[in-house]
């Protein structure tokens, strides 16, 4: 019995830590309807500024907090002014992508300045421990709880009773109306980003002190958990974010208690999916709250796609098809193979995200399902590789659609968050379902690609194979888009209520899109498995999902040629930037930001 008390206390303690990030995310979401993926990076910056203050300047704690808050606020203001404000009249999805780019840049800057080695960030509070249940808590636990709850309360009061707070809420409800009423929306945004960034910076520092450890990998994890907690509490709801965080902490802790440590995150993400399906506005949304966001139609702006004449496409395809006959290095071929594999994933994502409007952030899961299915079919059942890859595609289509179907009733950002969670769940199931997937050991000795008994081993043959598969999938998808199915898909994206009024069954069409997309992604994963010969649960990770989404947005949502062009660009750029060694991801982030700034509808435009 006393153990349960301890699990409860531990859950609350760690929930406390999540709350610090979640509050900042909630504030920004409340105003600009934006999931700020850079919040984790500000948290990272805050931790390192805290390290400089504590270890090098020896500032006392109150001064440290002020320094970190001020410096982080400046970073937030810079992000708002130069990263996001120029995008305010562009597509809704542009700022989302911009925050991803900004987080690349910030993380890399910290890594280059401070080296990736973890550092100790000593706590400046007296080392006294209070007995609580079987364990102890220290003054930092209380300080973190204090900062979390106080900031949530202050923000709540600020939003409800101050004039600027009203302006913030007005701007969040209807930006244009607020502007007409004389609200300076830019100033509101500035205020919000400054406050959220200050909070994010301080929380990074406090959490760093709490664990006596800071490193450059802490940013993505902080964002992930923060997003989960925020959405559970109700996106944009500041006190809800605190309660959501505590609940998340408790669920994780009880999950560990009942099933063991390696199931911990599984419960976190299951909680998220359950909450999203049952109460999409979060646990604490009031009934009279307006629908979360009128995202369809505005999330993905209509634009005039760049029409590429057919003969040009045919010429381009022909050039790529005969490329291996020319003296190009195998390295270039291998890079292009990677681009074709990513291209298949991007085709899949551009269909569900661009054409149907279901922006998925968990697409790597489809790769993983296809890869594991194909690898296991060929290894344990000795299915010929060609058939195994198709089997991987089919399994990915079936299982992927099944897994994603609970999120069909969601819209806009919520689809992204639900798919993010489903992606994590798939990865954790692969890690834990050892009987089938061999768990963390992974699957080795996967046979190479082969067709009709001939092994495809040379880079040229793998190149032709992956290129041909991608072209076939692209042609099929192009045909699909010009059929009545394609028109129905776009109708659902542009206005789902009107589409339903016309008698379209939304779930069926969404399922169809996911079946087709799942197949393409599964085939890509299957080919990758046979190419690598070894896969484990880390081979297809969240970064892959984010990369795929970046490709799709870069190429132009729903745009088949754009998806392929984007894949070549995003696989090629980091390779071209190898000359810059450690700086290459920084440069990549900056290029991404510039593209979003000057071409938010993507290179080839939305179809």
């Amino acid at each position: 019995m006393s153990s349960w008390l301890d699990y409860t206390i531990n859950g609350l303690i760690v929930g406390n830590v999540y709350a610090l990030v979640a509050v900042g995310l909630a504030l920004i979401f409340g105003v600009s309807r934006l999931i700020n993926f850079a919040q984790g990076s500000i948290y990272l910056v805050g931790a390192y500024i805290g390290w400089v203050a504590v270890v090098q300047l020896h500032t006392p704690l109150p001064l440290t907090i002020i320094v970190v808050a001020a410096a982080a606020a400046v970073v937030g203001l810079v992000i708002e002014r130069f990263g996001l404000r120029p995008l305010q009249n562009s597509v809704r999805i542009a700022p989302l992508l911009a925050t991803i780019g900004i987080s690349f840049v910030l993380d890399q800057l910290v890594m280059l300045t401070f080296s990736p080695n973890p550092r100790a960030l000593p706590s400046q509070l007296p080392d006294v421990r209070f007995q609580l249940g079987g364990g102890t808590i220290g003054p930092l636990d209380l300080l973190i709880a204090g900062v979390g709850i106080t900031s949530a309360l202050l923000l709540f009061v600020f939003l409800r009773y101050s004039k600027l707070g009203w302006a913030v809420r007005a701007a969040s409800q209807d930006r244009d109306a607020a502007m007409q009423m004389g609200v300076d929306v830019n100033r509101v945004n500035q205020a919000v980003f400054g406050i959220a960034a200050a909070l994010g910076g301080v929380s990074g520092m406090l959490v760093g002190m709490y664990y006596n450890q800071i490193d450059t990998a802490m940013s993505l994890q902080a964002t992930l958990k923060g997003v989960v907690a925020e959405v559970v509490g109700g996106a944009g709801n500041v006190p809800g974010a605190v309660i959501g965080s505590l609940l998340l902490g408790l669920v994780e802790s009880y999950g560990v208690a009942v099933f063991g440590t390696s199931y911990r995150n599984l419960f976190a993400f299951l909680l998220l999916v359950v909450v999203l399906v049952l109460r999409p506005n979060g646990l604490f949304a009031s009934a009279r709250q307006a629908p979360p966001e009128p995202l369809t139609g505005t999330f993905i702006a209509p634009s005039r796609p760049v029409r590429i004449p057919r003969w040009a496409l045919a010429v381009a395809a022909a050039i790529f098809a005969v490329l291996p006959f020319f003296p190009v290095s195998f390295y270039v071929l291998q890079t292009l193979i990677n681009a074709w594999l990513l291209g298949m994933l991007a085709l899949s994502l551009t269909l569900v995200a661009g054409t149907v409007g279901q922006v998925s952030l968990g697409h790597a899961a489809l790769l993983a399902i296809g890869a594991y299915t194909s690898a296991l079919l060929s290894l344990t059942l000795s299915v010929p590789v060609g058939l195994a890859v198709i089997g991987g595609g089919l399994m990915s289509a079936a299982l992927g659609t099944l897994l994603i179907s609970p999120s069909f009733r969601l819209r806009g950002h919520y689809v992204s968050i639900a798919t993010l969670a489903i992606g994590e769940i798939v990865s954790l199931v692969i890690l834990n379902w050892e009987g089938v997937t061999r768990g963390p050991i992974g699957i080795s000795g996967i046979p190479p690609l082969s067709l009709f008994g001939y092994d495809l081993i040379s880079p040229s043959s793998v190149y032709w194979f992956s290129f041909a598969v991608m072209v076939v999938l692209a042609l099929l998808q192009g045909r699909l888009l010009t059929s009545h199915l394609g028109r129905s898909f776009r109708a659902i994206r542009d206005d789902d209520i009107a589409a339903r009024a016309y008698g379209l069954s939304l779930n069926r069409y969404k399922s169809l899109a996911f079946i087709f997309g799942g197949f393409a992604a599964g085939v890509s994963g299957g080919i990758a498995a046979h190419l690598y010969s070894y896969i484990n649960h880390e081979t297809f990770n969240t970064q892959q999902s984010i990369l795929a989404l970046t490709v799709v947005i870069l190429g132009g949502l729903g745009n088949v040629v754009g998806a392929i062009l984007g894949s070549v660009a995003l696989v090629g750029l980091p390779e071209v930037f190898r000359i810059a060694a450690e700086y290459r991801i920084l440069i990549y982030g900056i290029v991404l930001l510039l593209l979003v700034r000057f071409r938010p509808q993507g290179l080839l435009g939305t179809i």
Binding site: N10, M111, Y211, G260, I441, N536, R578
Partner: protein, 385 residues
């Protein structure tokens, strides 16, 4: 290199241009140019810290090799390509190295998914993939071009089990391990050995690498009522677990795998890692001359910084590569054959390293039993803590 035909030359030069390496004719002019090794490893991304530690170890070894006159009069150098530990990038790097005739031998990658995805390309391309941190049991099964000096967990874990069970007298153990291929393999070997030595394993808990909060895990550990905790961890997560174990009131003895051996473990763990026991391959006061040379050289080069396990692996790997190239020259097949010929290469980890030709690994890692005393690693004096 007169036997290089035009096609290979063009391919090589394209690769060089893609690399942005300043390609010049001199690159192919034999002896003035250094013998080039390719390194595929993480310099950015979540494992970036290990790539930077590799570099430190490599650079120190290269300084010493150059000071000793290089390899048959030629310098040894490496070209480090950042893979982010991502299999997609490591396969591209593999093709790049394979098609670049200047590369004599490849080192890395860091993680198993990145390394083993690239293995088929190295194997077919006939370039040795020398994975010096690849403990995955299947790594060297990728083919006869895969060689590894990573300490086999089948060797290391029984030593740790002997330390914990026979020497420290622990009878009921809780094992916490990283839930990766390395942690999982290690755990299995450890549990098997510990049982053979007569201890009971009360609970095993696997955690993911990004985990930072272990309090609930430690409640499970407490409820299993062990008399010792075994950490199969790296230094950063090991330090976190030790701190939180003390915070939740666990006072049991802690015994950790050699991968926590790093000054960072002491820095990050603070007082909580006092009295933590660990098995290592070398230690600061080690009387062996190769260890003394490594530690004094490292401190002199890096401003007094203490080297850690990953620095030592990289340092050893570069020395091994030098020894191999000395025998095999720059021909890739000859280099592969040279791995089977090198004998008794001076090594921090193994003392004298010789490959077992069957498994393409090195057996018989050195062993030292350490304990953290007054914030320093010290040889365990046999006294209970």
């Amino acid at each position: 290199m007169s036997n290089i035909d035009r096609r290979t030359l063009v391919k090589g030069s394209l690769a060089a241009m893609m690399a942005g390496a300043t390609f010049s004719r001199a690159a192919f002019a034999q002896s003035a140019e250094p013998i080039l090794l390719g390194v595929s490893g993480p310099l950015t991304g979540p494992n970036a810290q290990y790539g930077t530690q590799w570099k430190q170890g490599f650079d120190l070894a290269l300084d010493e090799i150059t000071a000793a006159g290089g390899i048959n009069g030629r310098k040894l150098a490496y070209q480090f390509e950042d893979s982010q530990s991502d299999p997609r990038q490591s396969v591209a790097i593999a093709q790049k190295f394979v098609s670049d005739p200047r590369i004599a031998l490849e080192l890395g990658d860091f993680s198993s998914p990145a390394s083993m995805a690239a293995s088929p390309i190295y194997q077919r391309g006939g370039l040795v993939q020398f994975g010096f941190t690849n403990s995955h049991p299947d790594f060297t099964k990728g083919g006869d071009f895969m060689w590894s000096t990573s300490v086999s967990q089948a060797d290391e874990q029984p030593l740790l089990a002997a330390y914990a069970v026979k020497r420290l007298g622990l009878k009921k153990l809780a094992v916490l391990h990283l839930n990766t291929d390395w942690g999982r393999t290690s755990r299995d070997y450890f549990v098997k050995a510990a049982k053979e030595y007569g201890a009971e394993v009360a609970v095993t808990e696997g955690y993911i690498a990004e985990e930072r909060d272990f309090r609930s895990t430690l409640v499970r550990v407490r409820d299993a009522n062990p008399d010792g905790l075994i950490l199969i961890s790296y230094y950063s997560d090991g330090a976190l677990i030790a701190r939180q174990a003390r915070q939740v009131g666990l006072k049991q003895m802690i015994c950790a795998a050699s991968s926590v051996y790093s000054p960072k473990f002491l820095e990050l763990g603070g007082e909580a890692v006092e009295d933590v026991h660990l098995g290592t391959r070398y230690f600061p006061e080690d009387p062996r001359p190769e260890v003394k040379k490594f530690i004094t050289g490292f401190k002199a080069k890096y401003g007094g910084q203490e080297p850690d396990a990953f620095n030592a692996y990289a340092y050893d790997a570069m020395n091994m590569a030098a020894a191999v190239v000395k025998i095999g020259g720059t021909d890739r097949r000859a280099i592969r054959d040279a791995f089977a010929k090198v004998k008794d290469v001076s090594s921090v980890i193994f003392g004298l390293a010789t490959f077992d030709v069957e498994s393409r690994r090195v057996k018989g890692a050195m062993n030292a039993e350490l304990v953290v005393r007054k914030g320093q690693f010290a040889l365990w004096d046999g006294k209970p803590t």
